[in-house]
Symmetry: C3
Subunit: 350 residues, 3 copies
């Protein structure tokens, strides 16, 4: 858009063409101090994903629009992109068309399930240690098991993304289907290690990965149902709902079930659920949640073989774009030490 602004200003044709062209820069910079009780180092970290993005919409006439979006993700404490195995445009890289038929895009991005479910999570789907998005809300599931360890867990590459329009003002359907291509990563060993790969190197997918979600929104009530299958035939389904008894209070809950029968020898079923609340008080927002997960791929010793997480957070809004936050969480898991986590930081959208 900037080139257009300059060119147009010089030729004196300013206003008419603005709808014609646009590149928007947007992003998030979130940094804070944090402390985990099972480590002895106070750290500078983050609560949210940090983004630097470029997007645009072109009006093609007759209600048709062309859309694109490219999103860099990075760690502000060290200035690096997220993990050396993740792509530059880790957030997304998609192009497509929008019209009466809905939105159809090609490229890489969050799957239909992953994008839908975050609206029913008390930390708004942020990957905060206090939040539930990265583990409990997906029952430990990964959308992308054929890429190297350390890659993104909730995206499809080489995919087609469809979002229906709002049907009857209340209903929306979202579908993502990926090809069986290998994902262009240096060495594909699934969630194993180089010495003991879980899948052969550079595997192409065993099945076509897909993800489907449907949402209903009516007055103070919203709900979703979703199903997804990844490239190694692991299946997940999830349902969730939210309700606002008063405008300042949103209650929410979800349930998810992962079936790894195709790749895991014992105990292939993982179940998780979470409940949460968001409560607005003046310029503040209180976040609270409790979540529970039974282990996957482990002997299920009933009394301890579970993950439990309780979290409490508070945002203080300095403006619609900037807030300060404090989080506290306690997490018990079978496979790792129980710890408390505290953080204090600033979240800035631009």
């Amino acid at each position: 858009m900037k080139q257009t602004l300059v060119a147009l200003a010089l030729t004196g044709v300013f206003s008419g063409a603005l709808a014609q062209s646009s590149v928007s820069i947007y992003g998030t910079l979130d940094a804070g101090m944090s402390r985990r009780t099972d480590t002895d180092v106070t750290a500078v970290g983050k609560r949210d994903n940090n983004k630097l993005g470029f997007r645009g919409v072109e009006d093609l006439g007759n209600g048709l629009k062309a859309l694109f979006q490219l999103e860099i993700r990075y760690e502000p404490d060290t200035g690096v992109v997220e993990s050396t195995v993740r792509p530059l445009f880790q957030g997304q890289s998609r192009v497509g068309l929008q019209g009466d038929f809905g939105t159809l895009r090609l490229g890489r991005g969050l799957t239909a399930f992953q994008e839908t479910s975050t609206a029913f999570e008390p930390w708004s789907g942020m990957p905060a240690v206090a939040g539930y998005q990265t583990d409990l809300q997906v029952a430990g599931y990964t959308s992308d098991p054929l890429s190297v360890a350390g890659n993104s867990l909730n995206r499809f590459s080489n995919a087609v993304f469809y979002n229906s329009p709002m049907i009857g003002g209340i209903f929306q359907l979202n579908v993502t289907v990926a090809t069986r291509e290998a994902n262009n990563n240096p060495l594909i060993i699934g969630r194993g290690t180089a010495a003991a790969p879980q899948f052969p190197a550079n595997s192409s997918a065993a099945v076509y990965p897909y993800s489907v979600s449907a949402t209903v929104t009516q007055g103070p009530f919203a709900a979703y149902a979703a199903a997804e299958r990844n490239g190694v035939d692991t299946k997940l389904w999830s349902v969730g709902a939210s309700f606002k008894p008063i405008p300042d209070l949103k209650l929410m809950g979800s349930y998810q079930r992962q079936d790894q029968d195709f790749s895991v020898p014992i105990n292939p079923i993982t179940k998780a659920w979470l409940i949460g609340a968001n409560y607005t008080i003046g310029a503040g927002l209180v976040r609270a949640g409790f979540g529970h997960k039974t282990p996957d791929n482990a002997l299920n010793v009933p009394t301890i073989a579970k993950t439990r997480q309780f979290s409490l957070g508070y945002d203080y809004n300095l403006s619609p774009r900037t807030y300060l936050y404090v989080d506290g969480t306690r997490r018990k898991a079978t496979t790792a030490a129980t710890f408390n986590f505290y953080s204090l930081g600033i979240h800035h959208n631009f």
Copy 2:
């Protein structure tokens, strides 16, 4: 430009300074579904290079301008930058001055030959599988043989770029000269492998690489002649022409000859030619081409030792910035299996 806009708007001096300063963001996002008949996977791919660029022009007065351009290249299907061995600003990174004398720039970019010849190729120089730019139009030649395999083949780094003004309204001269520096890449083995390097690691060039092209444009007729030499003393020359018998039809053809006498023991000469057409029908554009190459560095068995490629494509313009496309091609080569390739996608400029 943006910072200037803000600052100027706040101080109330808006209009006058726009010519003074400018950063433009521009780019291309092209994604499509494709199928090669010699593989069993339908893929999400591209027809064109995908770009995210930043450029600006500063008016210095008296007809003198300062120019810069930085261009990221990426793959939208996976969100990664093009190949791990390519630079972030793979497209180009150049700065310089423009005036009555022409344009003089320093940095990295397409050579004079590579930039000129793409205007005489029926896929407009796009690296489409259906197109001819990456192989037949250059007779298999690479401008940058001293970088690692997987790098860009048509650029000089560490170079000086000169473009003359249009002389007499019809003639232009372009010259690129590079230094003999190694190109700052991790390990330089030319087109060999780590086990059998074609050139010693981190070689500096044997000769000064240069590229020269000249163009003539008059009415419906255009032509070019070009010569280039790379860092291992491989030489290439090429001529081409285009003609528009009617405004909607452009016919084109080119011939190129590569001489690898300095580095290849047998059959060091490669010759290639191609003919093509672009035909505009309403909002559509038909692309067609046929190309032919004799093999380099191989025993020349006359009946089979040739590459032949026939391609047909169609663009449907949704706007001046966005089009849908379909391509089909058939390629026979000595060194690889014969295959057909089909693709269908969307091309969006921003």
Copy 3:
């Protein structure tokens, strides 16, 4: 800001909201030809750091502002980011608040000492071969010894940055404190090699790294004092001053002392000083300097064990954003060959 410009222009509410939102793109592209007399290759290189940055300021009301800044660094001769071990946002990645209390930021950036001292260096802190910033002005000290060789030497990651307001219009205090976190780099061997690491891999810091600087500015006179300690308990202090006898002439000098007693067995003290001048003549600026350093960690043979550097440069301003330059320098050091260095280039800010 761009998205805001579009949105605002379309809704007709242009001026009021500009203070509300802003993303500015800025940067530097500097490229030139250079020659070192101890090599036989003429090179395309740089005099200054090359930057592509994104920054913004949000007015939160009551004198409070939110700030962010992200800065990519790259080499224009080859289009790559600076060194493969450096982060994408090598320049800085910081977010924070500014108000009556000063400026408080979190993330990665130049330390208080490194940022302050560059204003007292005749090449304005540019990392030019002719300049003094990278070696003599810091007495060979590095702010970040626990990252891999090749990383930035003058920044803290995982840090808190505080700048006081100007007190009494003449005095400012700057403080940077980092955590003891490892810096997220692939393998941490300090300034050693993989075979002989100077510090254990992935060390966390031995002490909290900090940096403090204070400046006084009054009329034609300015001065600073600074002290810094890095993660392996190396200490540095530095003082410097500048004076303008006439408006077109700035004289400057500084002294710095590094103490590596914690990690270096012999001769742990390094001392350096430099003097310089900047003289404006019409559209030109003459830069001159002489610097001297005694060796660190070496037997101190008095007559030769010293680094001495004399440099002379000239900038010719084509505009406030663009200049041409020529540099010449002669450097004698104990540990390397004596050489002369000459360069000629263009420096463009956008």
